[in-house]
Symmetry: C2
Subunit: 433 residues, 2 copies
């Protein structure tokens, strides 16, 4: 093989993930050179925090606080954006692409909100925009949609995309912990941030779902149309009932075809305990995809962490480097063009689990069933137990047959006003995956 | 988008898989055209069996019995080889590549035995040789090694690669069936062929493992060095003991780094019942890969069948078509160069399960343990049960600590000759995956 010139990389941000990428570039230079067809040289690190200049044993001279050095340097081939967050990362990526730099990013927020625009800019400039690390850490999730499953019309995507919440749910399910206790354990182990709002609240998962939906259904997704809920309302008793009924509780990202529209939603679900996805525990992520040809496929692995994420970032860098070395165009092949046709949340149809606190007296269930019936909701099973002799209340769990979200929301308003109902303690959607 | 000329395909073999590919090409023309950037036109079908000419609603005029029409036609861009078996498929692929045709194949035997040579020929001729469908049906397994995991040094691959045997093992495990009964059921349901020798005996899995080992460890694998065993020796009582001890029994393809060599072997294993791979049931396939950066990833799906396989075949066709349309080189990026350093089977180190029929008298276990000790094999646990008062024999199950295959084979020869041992009923290797 001819000796090729080095491919020069500028790194934006040397935090946890950036440090992982640097370590891998330094420690694995030989493997990476063979794969890329030429050495990968870290030319520049843009980092605002001067305390980090010189970190990872790198010479201080390659650090700068000015992103323009990366974007306007004629020496730099690939800009690797690992700052995170929408701004200024979005601006940096856009400027880099417009200045003819290939870009690799792990930025889920930017890709969820501006992916279609940035891919168009990349295409116009004949440069790459790669983002395998933005979803699922090192698990190949972007590439399968772009290459391996392209012959398929995707019917559904069900995914566990947030390790923090999956860890908390696993502890609640297996050890009977309450939400707050499980969250504290996750924080102690470094699986949850000090401010875990984006993870717990479902926003992180929603960003990732927007990206996968756009790829899987070949459409431009308006991020504001992605429905999301978090896991904070779950109680250990919900897990006990789920177990009793043969279900697991997971925070799922769901995208599926529904007539001519696509459902995209993130919320806790009851799912059959026997399904492989329900067995994905701890900080692991997994995505379950149904295609018209391939049937069901599942991809599983560590969804976060500097090492796994650097696997995806560097694979993107290597693929770009291979194309540069083979004088091939790096522009994205196919970018979504259809405008999003996302089904409004109120129109989705699924089954529901309700847990209510009711007065312990005859006829209560009949009253609730009547309200549900009036809204076209039919009950599939009921568990009533644990009367509390002091308060003279009982807990009642109702599983419904499929109903629209709208009907369920309206029925809940009426049920909430029934005198015999003390509290609607929880309601969780059920997926028959 | 400019209207591009059609990409012309010649299909070699219109059996079950070929028919599936044709159906997908015809029914999904619109999706595939958008993905490929131009229409995919089936120009020619080479099929020796004249009864199949005109099948799938195709005009008889595009059928021929002469493969040279496909290989020498200046009209044909891509040859899709779905004949199967080593010859004449190997010759056809080689001739096609040498005549400047891109080739897509699902042929595991040819790729296992001649992959490195054919990839070199493809590279020399600047044409593609793609074989995603040769392993794991529609599950992306080749592409991850070629693209997504390239930054990793692969440490281990554990895979379930044969749906027939996994179906049989699942029935034996869950329903307590005997091997022959489970096999007959599999044949009835179309999951096993009338002559199931290649599946049952492990050869099919060994072909696929050779391909994955070559990709994962970036080396030329001499197929004769791949050790394989089948599942016919398993008995329902082995599954009962496995269950009692917390294990599942699977036919695993294993490739892992062992000092400077690589182990490649296919045989039934005891594996922890709690591992995700142990939960892959029925005709599904899965591959579990450990890389130094990515950690553990798992890919799961239908490993066979015309629909799933056509997903992989057509993805390969589309990727080639995209490159043709973008005037990009289709030659394989990287082909293995290192000569195989496969660890001889006798040098592997693992734990073992033994099931023996012994005389029901004191001191028998001591005798067996003494022989094992003499060979450096230490026992981790023993189950003794089910004395048969008529024959005055008992069944004894021994789990060992790690030992070399060589020591175990030699110890077995000695144990076999002990008068107190009536039979060594089975021995199965244990993997702590």
């Amino acid at each position: 093989m001819l000796k090729k010139r080095a491919i020069n990389i500028a790194l934006l941000g040397i935090g946890t993930i950036g440090s992982g990428v640097v370590r891998a570039l330094l420690l694995k230079a030989k493997t990476l050179t063979r794969q890329a067809g030429s050495p990968l040289a870290l030319k520049l690190v843009v980092e605002k925090d001067i305390a980090r200049h010189g970190s990872q044993g790198l010479e201080k001279s390659i650090f700068t606080i000015d992103y323009r050095e990366a974007i306007f340097s004629s020496d730099v081939d690939i800009v690797v954006e690992l700052i995170g967050g929408e701004y200024p990362a979005y601006d940096y990526i856009k400027e880099a692409l417009n200045n003819g730099k290939h870009v690799v990013t792990a930025n889920k927020e930017v890709m969820a909100k501006h992916g279609a625009e940035l891919l168009s800019i990349a295409r116009k400039n004949h440069v790459a925009l790669r983002f395998e690390a933005s979803v699922g850490g090192g698990i190949p999730l972007i590439s399968p949609f772009q290459r391996d499953l392209v012959a398929n019309d995707i019917q559904a995507i069900y995914a566990i995309l947030n390790g923090t919440t999956n860890y908390i749910l696993t502890r609640m399910a297996h050890d009977g912990l309450d939400f707050n206790v499980a969250l504290k354990q996750a924080q102690k182990l470094g699986y949850a941030e000090a401010n875990p709002a984006n993870d717990i609240g479902g926003l992180d998962t929603a960003y990732k779902l927007a990206i996968l939906t756009s790829l899987g259904f070949d459409m431009i997704v308006n991020f504001d149309d992605v429905y999301y809920e978090g896991i904070a309302k779950l109680r250990s008793r919900d897990f006990r009932y789920a177990n009793e009924l043969g279900y697991a509780i997971k925070l799922l990202a769901i995208a599926k075809r529904s007539d001519k529209k696509v459902e995209t939603r993130v919320h806790p679900v009851f799912m059959p305990a026997e399904s492989l996805l329900a067995k994905v525990d701890g900080v692991y992520n997994a995505i379950y995809v149904t295609g018209d040809l391939v049937g069901n496929v599942l991809f599983y692995g560590e969804g976060a962490g500097p090492s796994a994420t650097s696997s995806a970032v560097i694979a993107d860098v290597i693929n770009i480097a291979q194309n540069i070395n083979n004088k091939q165009d790096n522009a994205p092949h196919l970018i979504p063009q259809k405008i999003s046709g996302i089904l409004p949340m109120e129109d989705i149809v699924t089954r529901y689990y309700f847990r209510m606190n009711v007065l312990d007296r005859a006829g209560v269930l009949a009253k609730i069933a009547e309200v549900m019936g009036n809204h076209g909701i039919s009950i599939s099973s009921v568990i009533q137990k644990e009367s509390d002799p002091h308060t003279r209340t009982a807990e009642i769990v109702i599983m419904t047959h499929p109903a629209t979200e709208k009907a369920v929301q309206e029925a809940m308003k009426v049920i909430y006003r029934l005198k015999v109902v003390k509290e609607i303690s929880n309601f969780i959607r059920v997926e028959a995956i």
